[in-house]
Subunit: 305 residues, 2 copies
């Protein structure tokens, strides 16, 4: 079975890993690049890197992002020199950014560079950025519009988000590799990623909604909410500040137009009747992915509902 | 006494360190930037860094460039990812390039960035790039024109150099800080740096020769040759392939129009009569700088001849 996943950061990476263990050759992971940015002259793609590192089994198992055993030699020296250190770069992690920046400067597309990195990491699946041009996510806080990483890392996502914009998305189509993968997929999975910060950027791309509508695959989403909390990140706060129910019902309302099925945590079974009233199927199962076995088990559910 | 030094890489850095120990507040070091380049999106200034690291006493004492105790975590990972590794970047060294690139992207001049780095390193002297715009040195080999780092690092300066060009130099003036420092200097020292690769780039800058002619300071050069060998680097090979005597007489012929005195190694005293025929004074003294004491002693000679 050919499967495509749309993924953002840590949750997306973990479900992708589960799917990869089941389908090492027939999987395409399509990753949000709305949080890509430039720092110190380097092109940084945090979501792509988190997915790459997780799939390669290089990821730091505690924080979920970054590389296991990474060191901070350069970052500490940068602090000593008075440089900007709000976005901490590990020495191993830096190599990814140097590689990407060098290849982009030589004219390679982000799709090509990502394929090269995936190959170097020994991966057999297809790992794709959602598009090749920058489509930076901008967020409106009480104090005005800010860049994604300014909100997410520098301010540690403490401010309520009042509005999201995906700058340039309506003039940027998904890459042809993404188009191809979605058309050929027999099943498409929306990973448990933040709808506003990881999935909407993909759906905002030029022509994406109609492409999506034309895909014959069954479409299954996994909710990133368990009870009133997000497993990771600022999703609960975003649901609240943007006026949605702060639970999997809020997720269902946001994703109903895109999917046939929503998988939610078994502890949220009381929400099933309300979700099914929205016209989508609701399936309850343990959805917290701590171990590799959890990831594989949840992936099996996503492949078979 | 206000002193200005023109310097390139390791030899220039070492004599500058000797001068700095004698004159911690009245020294300006003006550094060649003809070997600056971009790699992995980073702005790298090898000569500025060698001088900075040496003056800060951070330099690797064996190789003369790079940072003492530096590690290769990032470089090894970059190799694993299939990246370009011909120019090996240490983890500590990378921090300098990240800092410089970030500040340049924010609109700071190379002069400003260099002053910030010098301050962070605790230095009291004035450390100056020769100019703020890129003036890349290009070298003609038998196979055609190449970039400086291509010749110097990638090909390990093994090819004979047939011609040197300092691209854009005739349209790029020295920075106003360089102008000021040279006008105010009571003594100007040409460090034992490669005339073709370190000093000529500075003298090729727009208006530099007439600025130089108008400087009232006594001008003293230290020869980088001892016998028929350069202390470091490809100078002997360049003297030969460009048709000059491969010893301090060759250096004297190249520098005669710029200096009043040439300091050469005591072992080369037989060359003194021929050098003095060129109309410059020749002073013999031990010129190999192994220890800090050697550097300080040679600096004393350069200040008092």
């Amino acid at each position: 079975m050919k499967v495509a996943v749309l993924a953002g950061g840590v949750g997306g990476a973990r479900l992708s890993q589960g799917l990869y263990r089941i389908l090492p050759r027939d999987l395409t992971v399509i990753v949000n690049t709305g949080d890509d940015f430039q720092l110190h002259g380097l092109s940084i793609s945090p979501d792509l890197d988190t997915v790459l590192y997780t799939l390669a089994e290089w990821a730091d198992p505690v924080q979920g992002w970054g590389l296991q055993g990474d060191t901070q030699t350069c970052a500490q020296q940068l602090a000593r020199l008075g440089g900007e250190t709000w976005f901490r770069l590990g020495d191993l992690d830096l190599a990814t950014h140097l590689f990407r920046t060098q290849r982009l400067s030589q004219g390679a597309s982000l799709t090509q560079v990502t394929a090269e990195l995936a190959r170097s990491a020994g991966l057999q699946l297809q790992l794709l950025p959602m598009c090749d041009a920058p489509v930076p996510t901008k967020l409106r806080l009480a104090t005005g519009w800010v860049d994604f990483q300014d909100y997410f890392v520098r301010r540690q996502h403490a401010d309520p988000v009042l509005e999201c914009r995906y700058q340039g998305a309506d003039q940027t189509p998904p890459s042809s590799a993404v188009l191809e993968a979605l058309k050929n997929a027999e099943r498409i999975v929306l990973a448990p990623s933040n709808p506003f910060l990881s999935l909407q950027p993909i759906f905002s791309l030029q022509g994406f909604e109609s492409l999506w509508a034309g895909c014959p695959a069954r479409k299954v989403a996994v909710s990133p909410m368990i009870g009133e909390a997000a497993v990771k990140g600022p999703l609960a706060s975003l649901l609240a500040s943007l006026g949605h129910p702060v639970n999997s019902l809020g997720i269902a309302q946001l994703l109903r137009k895109w999917v046939d099925v929503l998988i939610l945590d078994e502890s949220d079974s009381a929400l099933v009747p309300e979700i099914e009233k929205l016209g989508i199927q609701a399936i309850c199962t343990p959805s917290l992915m701590k171990t590799t076995e959890d990831r594989e088990r949840l992936a099996q559910v996503a492949l078979h509902v």
